[in-house]
């Protein structure tokens, strides 16, 4: 009995230690940086700053270019994600369910095209965009951000669609449901968690896309990453700290949403055979 209890305690201690270490590993850098957001001066090796100030907050908030950039990002990225869904989800359905000719080539092409280091393509992309009159346009920026989302919006939903058990659909059709009803109530519902993951990843890919957006959008259209990189690199780390806190707030919100729909009920429910 004692041996069992001892091993139980050990494993509980081990688990708590693991949780603690993971928390330090993940949250440590963010919290450490976050405290800097309020520090006026911080000498090594003190564990706390010598003085507190809100100076860095006003520096960020008074930067008008940043406000415009964030506004641009928050408008452009959702549009990019919507267009991506419209273009890619049918393709994902086909790739996951139909063994069409060239399917392997299709998947590999999308995957590898996304992995080519962009900096090598700037000159060619600039030429192409000028030739197509897309340089400096809203459509041009949307396309360049769209490219980064295609890989998420095809591969992940394809796997989700493929995982929907066919006999469920057959059973529903045998019971008299129309093809469309079957698709809507069974296939799409069961694949939805995967599609949601794809939406989240695509949004982030578009939101964080900096290199190509700069090439095509500057000087008329600036998005959040460009302004943020400027401010973060140029001012003392306190400014980066302010940003990390500002961006953490919507992150926590998005996180709460994602967890509820992806980790919890809908996912488990969708994939379980009851």
């Amino acid at each position: 009995m004692n041996k069992a209890l001892k091993s139980l305690n050990l494993s509980r201690i081990g688990l708590n230690l693991f949780i603690g270490l993971l928390a330090v590993f993940i949250l440590g850098p963010l919290v450490w940086l976050g405290v800097h957001a309020f520090a006026s001066d911080w000498q090594y090796p003190n564990l706390y700053p010598s003085g507190l100030t809100m100076r860095w907050w006003s520096k960020v908030f008074l930067d008008s270019a940043f406000a415009t950039a964030i506004k641009n990002s928050l408008v452009i990225s959702p549009i990019v994600v919507l267009i991506s869904m419209f273009i890619c989800l049918p393709a994902a359905y086909a790739a996951g369910r139909m063994n069409f000719f060239g399917r392997k080539v299709f998947m590999i092409t999308l995957f590898s095209a996304n992995s080519f280091p962009k900096i090598g393509l700037f000159a060619a992309i600039a030429t192409l965009y000028y030739a197509l009159n897309l340089m400096g346009t809203f459509v041009g920026v949307v396309i360049i951000q769209l490219l980064g989302t295609i890989i998420y919006m095809t591969w992940i939903p394809a796997a989700a669609f493929a995982a929907v058990p066919k006999n469920l659909e057959e059973a529903a059709r045998d019971a008299g449901a129309s093809k469309f009803t079957v698709f809507r109530t069974i296939t799409l519902r069961l694949a939805m968690p995967g599609i949601l993951v794809a939406i989240v990843m695509s949004f982030l890919a578009s939101f964080d896309e900096a290199q190509g957006t700069y090439l095509v959008g500057a000087p008329g259209i600036f998005t959040m990453p460009t302004e943020m990189y400027s401010l973060v690199q140029n001012y003392p780390i306190q400014v980066a700290a302010v940003f990390s806190i500002l961006l953490a707030i919507p992150s926590v919100l998005l996180l709460g949403l994602a967890r509820k729909h992806i980790m919890g009920g809908q996912l488990a429910e969708g994939f379980q055979l009851k």
Binding site: L82, A126, Y130, L215, A218, G220
Partner: protein
């Protein structure tokens, strides 16, 4: 295809996107009264243009509007170069009329810049001919020098010559740093200065005015000296800060006692309060750290060359040069001192600003950056 609950937000998004498309299609490059300026530098130069030069220009020429785009540390030089070259090939609007950035000399060497003539830009006549020729179409408009910054609390007498500095570095391991030359000019200047220690005056001059791959074998000695410093520089493991800003940060936070910095960046940092007052600067000799001009460039494919020429010419006028010398920048002017405000130029007594020790021609400089990376760090 979508559930009922998603229809409404979808419709809203569709409407919003249409509205946004309508609102944010950028206006085509407006009539010749707008001049697009592109700055690729550090924030002190952004302040110079946005807070000082542009307002003064608009007062002098009220019919013109100036739009400034700023890129920090040249992070996006690759994109901008690609864009300008593509526009040149396809005869389209490159989106910029006047460039202030490190890559102007590269564009000039490729023949992509409008070459100024005194007929259309009379203030060109005040410039030093050698400096102007080195720009290959670029128009020098200000200069600065790299200096040795030191923590005056810990370093009571800073080194006076390069040899003194090298000795100091070895005597105080981990207390000196310079940034990797491919990331910032202040570190590049230190590297080139050490290289120049072993070169004759004639060789140094050649490397400044023409591409000279055959002279590059003579860099070996200087590179070896730099490699031997690996165990004495900050970190003592042959790693170096990535750019100018990191060197300034290491100095300000007390991680190092000495480092090489741009004169104008340093004085801007002092004034902004991001550099403590006990950090001072000094110049070294034999050889001195390099300095040089910054060049403006007008792309051949620009759609507003008239406006760009007007702005560039005005920047070379005594009125504008006075602004560059005073204020937060304390930049070096490119026109003779006797044309400027004597109060502002008192600080330059004894400094021969028109004969700063120049950096290599960009082709040689790029080769040096590459050679440094393959022979020094981590070795």
């Amino acid at each position: 295809m979508f559930k009922k609950s998603m229809k409404k937000p979808l419709a809203l998004f569709a409407a919003a996107s249409l509205a946004v498309i309508g609102l944010t299609v950028p206006a085509s490059h407006a009539a010749s009264s707008t001049i697009q300026v592109y700055i690729s530098a550090d924030t002190n130069i952004q302040d110079l243009w946005v807070k000082t030069l542009v307002p003064a220009f608009k007062l002098a020429y009220p019919g013109y509007d100036v739009n400034v785009t700023f890129d920090l540390h040249g992070d996006h030089d690759a994109q901008e170069t690609a864009k300008i070259t593509a526009a040149a090939v396809l005869h389209k609007d490159p989106g910029v009329d006047l460039i202030d950035g490190g890559f102007t000399t590269t564009l000039g060497a490729a023949g992509l810049l409008y070459r100024p003539t005194p007929g259309l830009m009379p203030n060109i006549n005040d410039l030093n001919k050698t400096v102007l020729a080195a720009g290959k179409g670029g128009i020098p408009y200000r200069a600065s020098s790299v200096l040795l910054a030191y923590n005056s609390t810990n370093v009571t007498t800073p080194p006076a010559t390069l040899d003194d500095l090298l000795a100091w570095i070895k005597a105080h391991p981990g207390k000196f740093t310079y940034n990797a030359p491919n990331g910032g000019g202040s570190g590049y200047s230190f590297v080139q200065t050490v290289i120049d220690k072993y070169l004759s005056d004639a060789d140094r001059k050649t490397l400044v005015v023409q591409a000279a791959p055959e002279l590059q074998t003579k860099w070996a000695q200087g590179l070896e000296t730099l490699r031997q410093l690996n165990k004495y520089t900050y970190g003592q493991n042959g790693t170096y800060p990535a750019n100018n800003a990191e060197t300034l940060k290491d100095l300000a936070t007390g991680l190092v006692d000495m480092g090489t910095v741009w004169s104008d960046q340093f004085s801007s940092a002092l004034k902004a309060g991001t550099m403590p007052a006990n950090i001072k600067v000094t110049a070294i000799k034999n050889p001195s750290l390099t300095g040089g001009a910054s060049y403006l460039g007008i792309p051949n494919s620009s759609v507003n060359k008239v406006g760009a020429r007007l702005l560039a010419n005005w920047v070379l006028s005594p009125a504008a040069q006075n602004l560059i010398v005073s204020g937060t920048l304390n930049g070096f002017p490119v026109i003779p001192l006797n044309k400027l405000d004597p109060v502002a130029t008192a600080a330059f007594k004894g400094v021969d600003i028109l004969n700063l020790r120049a950096g290599y021609l960009s082709a040689n400089a790029n080769d040096l950056k590459s050679k440094w990376a393959s022979t020094v760090p981590g070795k």
